[in-house]
């Protein structure tokens, strides 16, 4: 069994349910093809180094799994079909994993820890967002403009012209 790691970027304005749906779909793909799911880590919203489809931020996720290889194209196909996925990259982490159960346990522990951190980070982000909104409401100096105000392309084009 080889270990693979697929990192992918989801568009930043996605709802929590949408994110969960993507995760569930990928888990389904893994299960259908008999791969061992190790963990799915939420790396949070990060600023992109360059715009992708006019988004300046992206929600990064990282999926680890064990398989002989045939699931990789399936996973990538699922990601490609999803409109809210901006980018993905699959990397082979390890050529051969001997003790699957042990690796599984390690990954599960790590996932739990990372999930906790992600939750903390999410809470912090919400707090910051609220603070910024409050500041804006008070009529202070307007903070940096939001990443993307509108989904419709026509509105964006009007602004830029």
């Amino acid at each position: 069994m080889r270990e693979f790691e697929t990192t992918f970027i989801v568009q930043p304005e996605i709802s929590d349910e949408g994110l969960q749906a993507i995760r569930a779909r990928l888990d389904g793909v893994l299960e259908r093809h008999g791969a061992v799911r190790l963990m799915c880590d939420d790396l949070g919203r990060k600023r992109l180094a360059y715009e992708i489809r006019r988004f300046q931020k992206g929600h990064y996720l990282e999926l680890h799994y064990l398989d002989g290889g045939p699931v990789v194209p399936e996973i990538e196909r699922a990601l490609r079909l999803d409109d809210s996925v901006l980018r993905f990259l699959t990397v082979q982490v390890s050529r051969h994993v001997e003790d699957i159960e042990k690796r599984k346990a390690e990954a599960a522990a790590l996932e739990e820890e990372r999930a906790r951190k992600a939750a903390e980070r999410a809470a912090r982000e919400v707090e910051e967002e609220a603070a910024r909104a409050a500041q804006e409401a008070r009529g202070d100096e307007p903070p940096r403009e939001p990443d993307r105000e509108d989904d419709s392309d026509s509105a964006d084009a009007d602004e830029e012209e």
Partner: protein, 118 residues
């Protein structure tokens, strides 16, 4: 560039053999020679020359990870280009995977292909 200036057309016609030798010298070796020269000059001036050490050799625990934006940024110029070994001091063994990691990070928009990216 100063290195090229020496091999001007008039110079070459008079010294055919010199011309051949200069041509066979690669751009990289010329750059390296210049770096050596600079180091020598600095030494002479009494300035201390810090020996460059590969960061990854100095700390074997430091993993080369394409998701580690902060560390990768150290090895990329302001314009997003990879910094050559000759400048960063990395050893060949670590520069190779590092280059791959930088390219992967670019694909995932963690590093810019060009420009500042922030």
């Amino acid at each position: 560039m100063s290195g090229m200036g020496m091999g001007g057309p008039g110079y070459d016609r008079d010294h055919d053999r010199d011309h051949d030798r200069e041509d066979s010298q690669s751009v990289k070796s010329r750059l390296r020679a210049r770096a050596r020269k600079k180091a020598r000059r600095q030494k002479k001036k009494g300035g201390f020359l810090r020996r460059k050490v590969c960061r990854y050799c100095a700390d074997p625990a430091l993993p080369i990870d394409y998701k580690d934006q902060k560390t990768l940024r150290l090895f990329v110029s302001e314009t997003g280009k990879m910094i050559p070994r000759r400048i960063s001091g990395n050893c060949a063994r670590h520069q190779r995977p590092l280059a791959i990691a930088i390219k992967r990070a670019r694909l995932l928009a963690m590093l810019p292909f060009t420009g500042q990216g922030l």
